[in-house]
Amino acid sequence: MTLLAPARPTVLPSTPPRRKRNKQWIGALYAAPTAFVVGMFFVVPLGLVVWMSLHHWPLLGAPTINAPENYAGLADDELLRSAVWFTLKYTVVVTVLLFVLSFGLALMVQHRRRGVGLLRTAFFLPAAVGFASASLLFLGLLSDEIGPVNRILESVGLLDGYVSWTSGSANTALGSAVVLVLWRFAGFNMLILLTGLQAIPLDVYEAARLDGATRFQIFRRITVPLMRPTIALVLTLMITGSLLAFDQFWILTRGGPDNSTTSLVMVIYREAFIELDLGSAAAISVALLGVLIVFNAIQLGVLRRRS
């Protein structure tokens, strides 16, 4: 089973055809509210965004068709190009670090021992803080004015003088955002990975151990392959989330210093709300959505073939 695989058929084979058709209608009826909300508040606005991307769309007044100008204009937008690179870099960094950390935490708390419950709680609690709140929290935490980080580092002699983490240099700005994301999301991903870990029957491990497998061999040959669907789910969520990153940069680094942490969605925001060019903002969004759909479809295809 993969993330996007169709659900198991639950209709009994013995069900007579009439009842089956009835049951279909009943199923559709239960899905109707979902279809309504998704259709009304997602498909319709999405259609409007696509429609916008084909037009010169002034804030007030009548839009005029200018396709494919909005899309053609993207090619020579330098800020957009640097944002694409940055977003890809960020996605790789965050996905790798977040995955390693979450998996490590999951392994750490997978067996019931004394204190494990407390550890799980501690790792998961940051997920209870809204992401915008968490970004504001880190804004204070990392600030020179009120934050403890600089003072702690100074007192142990690691730091001398003034440092601005969020806007001092490209690396510390990226680092600030990455640490924030690790802190906020590691616990959530740990919990998902934990469900995958615990779904592996214990006797499989036992058999491997009887065969004389080392711990590393067990991890490579049993844990990872059996966890593949869960790992796929977690990676998909991480990559999609990173490609759409916005809040952490908007609040923490403002895309700086020198545009070094300007993400794709920040460029969309700038096109729409600062340049007031809704058409080209919509075009970037549609392009980004297209990339994400293709990416997820490929991942789905690869995983299906393997399993």
Binding site: L59, Y162, S164, R254, N259, R270, A272, F273, I274
Partner: protein
């Protein structure tokens, strides 16, 4: 809490009254300018207190009732743009004066040319502000608040450093000398401070020095950048040197705006360019005496950036006549003296620079008089070109202050011109 509650009750009662007024207007009585309409006014958080003071004074004497909604500064343009896109603008909305040409050109405000020209005091209304509310010869906005850039200095530190606290520098060169003298006091005292990662701050504090030296940063239409001029290069070179020498606080390089005021309030900075409105805020808490001086050019002269907010009538408003009644009232003597001047603000009228409240403090008269010498830069695409953190201006001045100065200003002028022409 009690005040809050009684305020809410009063507001509710007024709303109820306003609703009655509306009914009457609808039932055939001629719609007058003060018909008891409920007017919505949007503003950014930084301007909220002034907008609310205007509204409270107006509401107390009028049937119309103005209700102010404030949005976070950073997200305010997004709010306006999405409201305009949904054709749901408020009756009145204010904006940073430098963004006014953009909103005027997009038609977000109603044309008020005839109404404005009929005002008896129209020639006395801050001319630079009025110009920014103009697009293709039509007026769309009037001044709402005024904030100017000045030099603020710590008189106590001046005395300690052997400088005369009553004789502030009269040129940018003297300013640098004073900053160096204060910086020599040592410890955690620094000579000066600036927003080295804040486009809006640099526009506000550095450009007046260019103007005072007779130069400019753009052509008059706001379509071509001239930051590769000698005047601009001189100003950057001076600040760059102060930073390199450690006279400017090290935090200046990363200052994106949020901790700028805090730095000046700390009492550890000798002299720095800043918004004039901070005079009152710093004095309120400070244990030191604050002096104020005009921003000057390298060899003298003085100028200022006449900033603040403009306000106009939302293009989709159904209460245009009533909204204008409010705007016209805010420009009148009563509002300017009893609301703005009383609240230690700068009147938006040149003829009210000295009034019964400002005469108590000669420094305030000095600030008010600066308005005639200053400028408000005009450019349609100002926000995206200068204020936004992703703007080409940000790249240019960061390079000029901390990187390859020569190249940054040359490349910067090209990039800025491209952005201005959009």
């Amino acid at each position: 809490m009690k005040r809050l509650l009684s305020g809410t009750v009063a507001a509710t009662l007024l709303l109820a009254l306003a609703a009655c007024g509306d009914d009457k207007a609808a039932s055939g009585e001629p719609a007058t300018a003060d018909s008891g309409a409920k007017l919505t006014l949007w503003t950014r958080a930084a301007t909220e207190s002034v907008s609310k003071a205007y509204a409270a004074a107006y509401n107390a004497t009028h049937k119309n009732q103005v209700e102010v909604t404030a949005y976070p500064n950073e997200e305010y343009p997004a709010k306006l743009a999405s409201a305009a896109g949904a054709k749901a603008l408020p009756d009145l909305f204010a904006s940073d004066v430098v963004f006014a040409p953009q909103y005027a050109s997009q038609g977000l405000w109603l044309d008020i040319t005839d109404k404005f020209n009929a005002l008896p005091m129209k020639d006395k209304v801050a001319p630079a502000h009025v110009r920014n509310g103009t697009w293709k010869g039509k007026n769309y906005a009037v001044p709402h608040t005024i904030d100017m850039s000045v030099m603020l200095y710590n008189k106590d530190l001046f005395t300690k450093a052997g400088l005369d606290p009553e004789k502030p520098p009269t040129s940018l060169t003297e300013f640098a000398a004073a900053a160096r003298a204060v910086d020599k006091l040592g410890g955690d005292i620094n000579g000066t401070y600036f927003g080295g990662n804040c486009g809006g701050c640099n526009v506000f504090t550095l450009w007046p020095s260019v103007w005072a030296a007779g130069g400019d940063v753009m052509n008059a239409e706001g379509t071509a950048s001239t930051i590769d001029s000698k005047e601009m290069a001189d100003v950057f070179a001076l600040y760059r040197k102060l930073y390199d020498e450690g006279v400017a606080a090290p935090a200046s390089k990363d200052e994106a705006g949020p901790t700028w005021l805090g730095a000046l309030q700390s009492g550890k900075i000798g002299i720095a360019p800043a918004p004039s409105a901070w005079l009152g805020i710093i004095e309120e808490k400070a244990t030191f005496k604050v002096g104020i001086a005009p921003i000057s050019g390298i060899n003298g002269g003085e100028s200022t950036f006449v900033g603040g907010d403009s306000i106009g009538i939302g293009a989709t408003s159904k209460n245009a006549a009533q909204a204008w009644d409010f705007l016209a009232w805010t420009l009148g003597d009563e509002a300017q003296v009893e609301v703005v001047a009383k609240g230690k603000g700068v009147p938006t009228r040149t003829d009210l620079a000295s009034n019964k409240y400002s005469s108590a403090d000669p420094r305030i008269v000095a600030i008010n008089n600066l308005m005639g010498k200053g400028k408000t830069p005009y450019a349609k695409n100002f926000n995206a070109t200068y204020n936004d953190p992703q703007s080409p201006w940000n790249t240019a001045y960061r390079g000029a202050l901390f990187g390859d100065a020569q190249k940054s200003l040359g490349d910067g002028a090209t990039a800025l011109t491209a952005s201005l022409k959009k």
